[in-house]
């Protein structure tokens, strides 16, 4: 017998005080350890920046490198006034895994249920063999790819709606 699930409700506009502890704990990262940085912005269907949204990331491959962290492999980041976020990911060497560098959960006022996404690096040489990307229609895969910038960081925007709507997952 299957028990019926508890449904979701929006996070609303007011989680900041309650969520601050994990925001601050997970921001304590070692900037001297090998890492990459992904930055981006969260947009609505009109291209308006969402300045009261959140992302959380789970990075199973980074967790082992973060044994000194309070919550290894985890980040919680509120979007800033421009809808922006900056995510630092511990990585010992460039990815060639075909796996996401982070599983990303998106929350916002007006988002009735949090959304699951994931981000890959464009210079991951194993992307063509990715088991997860292979399940995404080819035309939409680019919404999950962070692009390398001149300064060595990566850029990945999240579009909740619209022509470039980010792929969101329902795991099986």
């Amino acid at each position: 017998m299957r028990h019926k699930i508890t449904t979701a409700q929006t996070i609303g506009p007011f989680p900041h005080e309650a969520w601050k502890w994990a925001t601050e704990l997970s921001a304590k990262v070692d900037h001297n350890a090998p890492h990459i940085v992904i930055h981006g912005r969260i947009f609505d269907g009109d291209g308006v920046a969402i300045n009261d949204g959140w992302i959380e990331t789970w990075m199973p491959d980074s967790a082992a490198l973060e044994s000194a962290h309070e919550i290894p492999g985890y980040r919680r980041i509120p979007s800033d006034q421009d809808g922006g976020f900056r995510l630092q990911i511990s990585m010992a060497q460039p990815a060639a895994s075909g796996k996401p560098v982070a599983y990303v959960t998106v929350f916002a006022r007006g988002l009735t249920k949090h959304q699951f996404s994931a981000v890959f690096l464009e210079d991951d040489h194993a992307l063509a063999d990715s088991q997860l990307l292979a399940q995404v229609p080819a035309a939409r895969r680019n919404t999950l790819i962070a692009h390398r910038q001149a300064d060595g960081s990566y850029c990945w925007d999240i579009h909740l709606q619209g022509d470039n709507e980010t792929v969101f997952f329902d795991y099986t």
Partner: protein, 230 residues
């Protein structure tokens, strides 16, 4: 774990025009069903040392007791197979008895309570149970439409035992007259799913002359991939 398809209407509509900010923020494409082992089998580890004493009693932050009706909220967190979700991080947050959040953007003309912050966190126990003490939150206006008042609620954030079980939801109180007028509650089309968001009064959990008790059981998505029973 594996995650079955959810029946239509159980999850809230992502675009539900009566809740205005969903119109441009709700994804228009259905989520893509995918299999991913890491999402379905791994999760962060939250150490018990992260939980502080006041995290499970929201009434002891201040120098004296907060105003309002002190209550205890408890329940069991299980998965779809009925298995307890053990040692799992759970966060709660809410407004105070007057309907005001401790948040710089909350403009509601109701008083803050210096003795009430309105947030806490805990781990479920070996049976998946949780319990916290708080003040019954008040209703508050939110400006979505004329006379838009939220029914009293407590926000719940749960991490489950694997990443894909993550859930953020809201717990309501029985008999609230605002349910039928609230687009956030009504964004869930399935009436039974809405009812499952409403806690029940419990005389058993009521503590003597100190506080009334409410029970709110939670079922997270997912069940073990291995069939159990015969």
């Amino acid at each position: 774990m594996q995650f079955d398809v959810i029946e239509p209407g159980v999850l809230p509509d992502l675009i539900y025009p009566p809740y205005k900010s969903t119109v441009k923020r709700g994804p228009s494409q259905a989520p893509l069903r995918v299999r991913d082992e890491a999402a379905a089998t791994t999760n962060l580890f939250a150490s018990p040392k992260l939980i502080l004493p006041h995290d499970i009693d929201l009434t002891v932050h201040g120098e004296s007791a907060p105003l309002g009706e002190k209550i205890v909220v408890t329940g069991q967190v299980r998965d779809e197979a009925g298995q307890p979700v053990r040692n799992s991080l759970l966060e709660v947050w809410q407004c105070n008895a007057a309907g005001r959040y401790r948040h710089r953007k909350d403009q509601h003309d109701a008083p803050l309570d210096p003795n009430f912050n309105g947030f806490g966190k805990m781990l479920t126990d070996d049976e998946g149970r949780y319990r916290f003490v708080t003040i019954k939150p008040g209703p508050y206006p939110w400006g979505n439409h004329h006379k838009a008042w939220r029914p009293a609620h407590i926000h719940f954030s749960m991490f489950g035992n694997v990443y894909a079980q993550r859930l953020v939801t809201q717990m309501y109180f029985p008999g609230d007259p605002l349910f039928e007028y609230d687009p956030i509650f009504q964004s869930v089309q399935d009436a039974a799913a809405r009812q499952r968001l409403i806690s029940r009064f419990s005389l058993e959990q009521t503590v003597d002359d100190k506080m009334l008790g409410y029970e709110f059981d939670i079922v997270l998505r997912g069940h073990d991939a291995t069939p159990t029973g015969i």
